[in-house]
Amino acid sequence: MIAFALEIGVGALMLLVFIATLVARGDDRRWVGWLAAAGTLALTLLALPLSPAPAQLGGAFVQDGLALFAKRLFLAATFIGLLGGLSLPGRPFLRRAGEYHILVLASLLGMLVLASARDLVLLFVAFELMSIPLYILAGFAKREAGAVEAALKFFLVGSVSSAVMAYGLSFVYGAVRTTSLAGVAKAMPDGDGLLILGLLAVFGGFGFKIAAFPFHMWVPDTYEAAPTPFVAWLSVTPKAAGFVALFRVYFEGMGTAVSFWVPVAAGLATLTIVAGNLMALPQQNAKRLLAYSGIAHIGYMLVGFAATSASGTAMVLFYLVAYVFGNMGAFLVVEAVARSEGSEHLAAFRGLAQRSPLLALAMLLFLLSLGGIPFVAGFWAKLYVFWAAATAGLYWLVLLGALLTVVALFYYLIVAKRMYIEAPPATTRVPLEPMLALAVLLCALGVVILGVYPKPLVMAALRVAAPLF
């Protein structure tokens, strides 16, 4: 039972929120959100002392180091995301707060199981449980222009990717006659064509979920139209869950057969880095900018994936943590500014440093982290990933990544320039809800601490990644 503690906890929390929503009266039901946030915090704290447990359900569910690492990350990120969304104004968030949190928790449950899934059936079900609430949440503010379009795009692309994935999984099953990932790993070295075709199709499905380049179409529109605190969460946690699942399916127990995935991952990484960064350049909307830059970050993580080594995997895990804090923080600042200025355009950030120096400083930290400047988390993340890729001999990929990092710095610094150099349109402070401020503060702390003292996390990541190979 102890192996399922977190999943049971999230499930129970979800049901509690469900019941609270049913009994709630009145128009302002945001207190339900406090319940969800407090519960998530409690579960995060509960997750910290947990230790790995033996595999359950005939090996389908495994609570190993990787799973625990990922689950702590998901829970912490969800807590920050919920904090940011607690004070959302607007009628749907007042009246439908319960539904919002039920869906977030359902998706979180899917992610938690996904991190532990070592069986194709469980993997697929967990993937769907993670994705379907996200489609609904993307259309949550359905009265607002574009929200339905965004949700529909997300839904259509997402369900096509699920179909591709299920199609691939059927080939995998046909080739190896078992749904256990251990069986798949055992059959992989034989180089069965059907198995490889199936795994490639599954890779395509994963590509949609983590929004790698040719599968990224939904990202900018969905991010732009959906509520920002939700997007902050959407832009990091499902991606992290996708990467953990990628490690499980393509690395765990494969032995030397992993080298097959190097060209696939390296090619995808190249495309994603180039396309993400170049498309981010002309963006004038802060959320679209972050959306495209997020695609580029997925590319960097794929570089670490392409290294197909324990250190590469560990570095991707570290990158994920850094990305969670940096990207969520940036989105939450965008939310704060947009709520005050009524616009997500980059012009809304003009002179932010004079109006709200602390908020501007936090944004600067996040941008620097995303850009990869020393002494914030993102720097180490990029450095480690490149180092792992170089160790694996992928020098050209490293070179390309480093080149495009400069491009990325350019567009991040444009935002910084707007905040610090341009004159503000007004001199009033940007009002900041306390909970949103707390969420931004947590992200900033994460970015700074990981930037100054990354060693413990790197060691932990190395420890959990080692058993995969």
């Binding site: 499930g11 979800m14 469900f18 359900l57 005939g58 389908a60 569910f61 009628r91 749907p92 009246r95 439908r96 539904e99 039920i102 869906l103 359902a106 998706s107 449950l109 899917g110 199981v113 069986d119 059936v121 469980l122 079900v125 967990a126 769907e128 449980l129 379907i132 609430p133 489609y135 609904i136 259309g139 949550f140 359905k142 009265r143 339905v148 949700a151 529909l152 839904f155 259509l156 369900s159 080739a175 006659r177 078992t178 064509g193 059907l194 075709l197």
Partner: protein, 195 residues
Amino acid sequence: MMARAAFLVIAGIAVAAALALVLRRNTVHGALFLVVNLGCVAALYLMLGAIFLAAAQIIVYAGAIMVLFVFAIMVLIPGKEETGPDPRRTWRLLAAPLGGALLLELILLVVGRTAAPAPTGAAPSDNVAAIGRLLFTDYLLPFELTSVLLLAAMVGVLLLARSREGSAEPQGAGPEASVRGSAKPQGSEPEASLR
């Protein structure tokens, strides 16, 4: 020999129905061809001895889900069952070589493959008790997760399909709003019931 012939006939019908589903402009005809296709798949399950699966396939897909499809088509496309010419036809034609390549690859892979041994430890396919036991032991977690998924989908459908919240929402009254409101359940209903 008999089984092989029967398989070829059923599989042929299934493929033909699937093609017709994709190629026909008339959405209702498409839905009916989908019923044929799903029925053929159920027949293939029967040939494999998976009687329970075949019956479940018919109840869930050919019965319930198709009914919802048809209902959505009738409600959402009143009097316009024919869809017009495809606006992105040339783009979509690019899919043909890709699909062709995949088909070729599959044929190359499948031809000359020897049948692998049957999976070990599989339950007798028509033994409901054995299937149930498996569902509540080894596959308990996916089974329970599916129920959470259905709950979330149900909450979502109510959230998105509810056309008006109270009455004090002026922008919810326009025809555009009602179109937008109704566009979503089409997406989420089949999704919800598919799982």
